[in-house]
Symmetry: C2
Subunit: 116 residues, 2 copies
DNA sequence: ACTGATCGTTTCGCATCCGTACCATTATAT
DNA sequence: ATATAATGGTACGGATGCGAAACGATCAGT
């Protein structure tokens, strides 16, 4: 199954998906927050604050605040690393998995609506 | 050319694309702003403040402010409708077209990196 | 001409996000 | 034991976004 995508199709896809995302009542994540939660769920652990900050090219407080926000939404969870108690390991949650599952379905649906 | 996309592939695609977008020096658009500019460029004109507000399900000032921001970035342009001077027609710009062209290429590149 | 509706903008108070700088805790090296 | 480094969090001032409400300009109906 190939995912050959033209630039025009790519933009149509993003147009439809972001529109649905904005229209929905789902929590309105920042682009950075979305990038963070996607990374946490799509890339094998462990994930740390410092690692995410370096990956995104932003400062640590950005990650801390994003985890605060998404944590209060129940999308991610913080756990102290017992092997090195300076670290905080960011973990997935059921609600976070549901959120991304919903996002994935939304994009797939938009892809189905694409003009070929 | 089919765009069959599994939910997993969709999330990988968004993961890669949002990550590159955050990492880049490109102006950091809000999800709403991104949705607006995509709509302006992907859907035939005319585009008005009220129409966009209704489409996104947000209030008018949100659109006004988004146009202020993106206007100062040179991504969109406002023009009075001479047939009905109450209306403001939102138009495309060269810089806006370049911005979206870049976004489209970025997504296409990520799609090429997708695990099949 | 007058009235009411429509459209975009502005103002207001509030919430959130940003980067810089600093702090508390914990680990490592000497 | 002490000093140094590393990690995440907090405080701060500034920038930006938000919705509700009010405003000025313009149009349409009578």
């Amino acid at each position: 199954m190939s995912v050959g995508l033209t630039p025009s199709q790519a933009l149509y896809l993003w147009h439809g998906a972001t529109l649905k995302l904005v229209q929905s009542d789902a929590p309105d994540l920042t682009m950075r927050q979305l990038s963070i939660i996607l990374h946490i769920y799509m890339v094998p652990p462990p994930h740390t604050v410092r690692g995410l900050a370096a990956l995104l090219g932003v400062t640590k407080p950005v990650i801390t605040r994003a985890l605060d926000s998404m944590g209060s939404m129940g999308l991610v969870r913080r756990v102290r690393d017992e092997r090195d108690r300076r670290n905080v390991i960011i973990q997935r949650t059921v609600d976070g998995a549901l959120y991304l599952e919903n996002l994935g379905d939304l994009i797939v649906y938009e892809a189905g609506e694409l003009p070929l």
